[in-house]
């Protein structure tokens, strides 16, 4: 069996792959943390407009350290910048953009994704202080809800499962998953493998996936730049 830790994609490579599916002019919300990396890999000649749910559309990159204006932050409470085209708005308008179907894509992280598109990404249900933020809103309304994630947990357990065991963020909401090994769509209650790393066999990929991977013709090779 292939040692997947040696062949799996880095987070940057997963983010790069997810960025290739964002069309020019798309309105995009990127979840806090890892999904934010997707913004760095917009293909040449395409311009997505990024939404951050605390109330900014089309913001610029992080300022130089020391140049932060703490009235100008993103949902992760990191400093961002204003650029020509930036718009500010209040929270009710911001979530109207989210739930009202105005976003083309939301890209989020995950603890687990189930084959019916259920997503668990807000709580492991193990006590502590509960905190949901905008996670439950972001999974509804965007035309596509994609997930970027490692294929398995740190201790090797599948993150793509038949049924989520962690508390749900949303039901039947995920449409595509970009993992460290594959690109997988959710269709009619099951996972459909679209691309896989050429160096992993179908059997080995299935072995680290918690639900049956269907194919629709042969999966394409998942090819990403070696260095990013």
């Amino acid at each position: 069996m292939t040692d997947i830790s040696e062949i799996k994609l880095t987070n940057a490579q997963i983010a790069w792959r997810a960025a290739q599916d964002i069309v020019d002019g798309a309105y995009v919300n990127l979840g806090i943390g890892f999904p934010e990396m997707v913004a760095q890999f917009q293909p040449e000649g395409r311009q997505a407009i990024f939404h951050t749910e605390n109330g900014v559309l089309d913001f610029g990159p992080a300022p130089e350290p020391g140049q932060e204006d703490w009235d100008c932050i993103n949902a992760g409470k990191k400093a961002i910048t204003v650029r020509p085209g930036t718009a500010f708005f209040h929270h009710a308008d911001s979530f109207a953009m989210v739930r009202g179907g105005h976003l083309d894509v939301a890209i989020l992280g995950a603890f687990q994704v189930a084959q019916n598109g259920d997503l668990a990404n807000w709580s492991t249900g193990r006590g502590g202080v509960p905190a949901v933020g905008g996670a439950m809103d972001l999974v509804h309304g965007a035309k596509r809800v994609a997930v970027v994630t490692d294929h398995v947990t740190r201790d090797g357990q599948p993150k793509l499962v038949e049924q989520c065991s962690f508390p749900l963020t949303g039901k039947g909401c995920v449409t595509r998953v970009y993992t460290s090994l594959a690109v997988i769509d959710v269709e009619d209650g099951h996972f459909v493998l679209r691309e896989k790393l050429p160096r992993i066999s179908m059997a080995d990929l299935q072995a680290v996936t918690g639900a049956t991977l269907h194919t629709d013709g042969g999966p394409a090779d998942l090819i990403v730049p070696e260095t990013l």
Partner: protein, 235 residues
């Protein structure tokens, strides 16, 4: 008509024990720190606070909690860079917490200000946070019923105000401030500048003065992020 008040103490003087208070801001941006600190000085306790977060460090909302003034908090995300104060109170059972998804929190507040007692949203359907809430199907999809949220007071941070209470905001500091101004029985605003009538272009007014009851000028307001980097503690 002149809604301006000359002091922070005067602006928050009538907030009684047991009041519900909406506090604007998302993290530190748009947080009316000077009004919160005046409320700490004023002494009201047993408060229900509605804010997106639960404070950060030992200033602003975190300081209000640390002083034991908050009985119940309604928020979406009580985590922060330094959530020690809230976490300690929560784990000790000294504060009640109602977690509301962020967009639902915003819409409940908007509905409260707009006179809409309930609405249906897809958010949280099928999750633990929807437990016990009415579900209805519209056009083949399930939605849950949420209720309006109103408060006795709102503490709001604005950039510019005129004597009628017309307001503008600064960048992403707008966040919850305009909708909270609408949803409270009495909305108290700190503005970085108070200008004469006509000083705000009518096309640029974000919050019309009808939603505002009192305005106090706080020039060069403190930023939570900056205070926390300095290790500030209030009082």
């Amino acid at each position: 008509m002149d809604k301006t008040i000359s002091s922070l103490a005067g602006a928050v003087a009538d907030i009684p024990d047991g009041a519900s208070v909406m506090i604007g801001g998302f993290g530190g941006s748009g947080a009316p720190l000077e009004l919160i600190h005046a409320l700490i000085d004023q002494g009201a306790r047993d408060l229900t606070v509605i804010n997106n977060n639960a404070g950060n460090g030992h200033v602003g909302l975190a300081a209000l909690i640390e002083q034991g003034r908050v009985r119940r908090l309604i928020c979406s995300f009580p985590r922060s860079a330094d959530p020690t104060v809230f976490n300690d109170f929560y784990k000790a059972g000294k504060i009640e917490l109602e977690i509301v998804p962020q967009g639902t929190l915003a819409e409940r507040i908007r509905a409260g200000g707009a006179g809409i007692p309930a609405f249906y949203t897809p958010t949280s359907y099928g999750t633990d946070l929807a437990e016990g809430k009415p579900v209805e199907e519209f056009e083949g999809h399930a939605y849950i019923q949420e209720r309006w949220l109103k408060a006795d007071y709102a503490l709001v941070k604005a950039e510019c105000a005129d004597p009628h209470g017309n307001l503008t905001y600064r960048m992403a500091a707008r966040n919850f401030n305009p909708i909270m101004a609408m949803a409270a029985r009495r909305s108290i605003v700190q503005a970085s500048r108070i200008v004469p009538l006509g000083g705000i272009d009518p096309e640029h007014v974000v919050t019309p003065g009808i939603f505002v009851d009192a305005v106090v000028e706080v020039t060069n307001p403190a930023q939570e992020e900056v205070l926390n980097r300095e290790g500030a503690v209030y009082p």
